[in-house]
């Protein structure tokens, strides 16, 4: 295997410097775009722009989309179910974070 040289490698911080089109997010998640459209319809992903071709997904969408797709595929969940699961996971994360701040976990 090659050892890649940094001088030729462009490193981008996805969450702060990147936006995805629908197609790009599909590639990054290895997902059919139809799957992502379902997630947008359920409010799991919230792109800016009108119409599929103009949709732009913020960098943070990558993590959320991948988690949603994993759960749909591996636990055989529907898009509405995964939307609920992600909301509940966010709430659990929030509660856990409060425990950690207090040094209780």
């Amino acid at each position: 295997m090659s050892n890649s040289n940094l001088s030729t490698m462009r490193v981008v911080l996805v969450e702060e410097e990147l936006q995805f089109t629908l197609i790009e997010l599909g590639h990054a998640c290895h997902a059919e775009t139809q799957r992502l459209v379902e997630l947008v319809e359920e409010g799991v992903l919230t792109p800016s722009g009108e119409g599929l071709a103009d949709w732009r997904f913020a960098g943070v969408s990558l993590r959320r989309a991948r988690t949603a797709l994993r759960l749909m595929h591996e636990l055989e969940l529907t898009a509405p179910a995964v939307a609920l699961v992600l909301d509940l996971l966010d709430r659990i994360d929030g509660l856990r974070s409060r425990l950690r701040q207090a040094g209780l976990s």
Binding site: M1, S4, R10, L13, V14, E16, L62, E74, Q101
Partner: protein
């Protein structure tokens, strides 16, 4: 190679029906899915479950597995004879469809050697529903808190599955020199353009996404950009106030401890968390450390304290409580 008891993994009997297997798999999958579970070994447990279900959830594979199982016992050395599986035909996707094992979900990468010996590469990834072809790859990297404070170059080793001339999947070690941006947080991703693989012959290489994880630090807890550290103080420091030294990832700083401080109180050092715009804050979480009463003078000091606080009722319930 050890024989794997997939029935035990899925907690079902050998006589279980397809429905029973599915039910048990779903129940355990919900419990151990790494996106949901906080069990320490969730990821490896889930991989085992997915592999077991990939076999037992498929009538053809289950029959082949049972056939082998009748001749072997779990935990014993298992050695498939060359070409033993030539009589089985699996309905999976053919060779050349392998889309990079580490790219997708938790369940589909890294089959055990046992699975590969039984079913070979042709059976890989069958459960995946029409993965879109893409050369983008994903991997997780673990960095230290100090890497995020200071930024800079880190040499990172990745294991990349590749198909060799014989059609076998082998893991290759690949080393990348990555520039870690100052202030990067857990769960964020770095994109390395062109470091994936071509989606099809002749196509340009996809990108490599690296997800950031932090190695646990013995003293500091990270919460987004904010850093938390426990700071024990003496009872008189808490009561009377003091100037105390607090260790931050950036070195030691003096901090003013207000009089009347209590355990659990958080003191904020603005801008001393992870760097960024805005920078995070550092929170010193106070705890009260009691000196031991193991000498006569120490015991006398506690007695004097008791005499000075005859009205102090630490266990008196607050009046508003029921």
């Amino acid at each position: 190679m050890e024989f794997k008891d997939y029935y035990a993994t899925l907690a079902v009997k050998k006589t279980a029906t397809a429905d029973e297997i599915k039910r048990s798999y779903r129940k355990l999958a919900r419990k151990y899915h790494p996106d949901v579970s906080k069990e320490a070994d969730a990821e490896s447990r889930f991989k085992d479950l997915a592999e077991a279900y990939e076999v037992l959830g498929d009538a053809e594979k289950r029959a082949a597995y049972d056939d082998v199982g009748n001749r072997a016992q779990s935990g014993q050395e298992f050695r498939p004879s060359p070409g033993w599986d030539s009589g089985y035909e699996f309905g999976g996707r053919g060779a050349g469809e392998f889309s990079g094992g580490f790219a997708g979900g938790y369940g589909q990468a890294d089959h055990s050697d046992f699975f590969d010996a039984l079913f070979g590469r042709a059976a890989r990834g069958q459960r995946e529903q029409e993965p879109a072809r893409s050369g983008d790859h994903h991997a997780k990297i673990r960095i230290d808190l100090m890497d995020a404070y200071r930024g800079g170059h880190r040499s990172i080793s990745l294991r990349v599955p590749q198909i060799d001339a014989d059609g076998r999947v082998k893991l290759h070690e690949r080393t990348l020199d990555v520039n870690i941006p100052k202030g990067i947080r857990a769960g964020q991703h770095l994109r390395l353009a062109g470091q994936g693989s071509p989606a099809a012959a002749g196509a340009p290489a996809g990108d490599l996404y690296l997800e950031i994880e932090f190695a646990e630090h013995p003293h500091f807890r990270l919460e987004g950009r904010d850093v938390y550290v426990d700071v024990p103080v003496a009872p008189w420091e808490a009561a009377l106030g003091a100037s105390i030294a607090v260790t931050t990832p950036d070195g030691s700083v003096q901090m003013k401890l207000p009089s009347g401080s209590t355990a659990g109180r958080k003191l904020r050092l603005k801008g001393k968390g992870l760097p960024g715009t805005p920078a995070g804050d550092l929170y010193a979480v106070l705890s009260i450390a009691l000196p031991p009463a193991d000498t006569v003078p120490a015991q006398e000091a506690y007695s004097a304290l008791a005499k000075a606080f005859t009205d102090f009722r630490p266990r008196q319930p607050p009046e508003s409580s029921p």
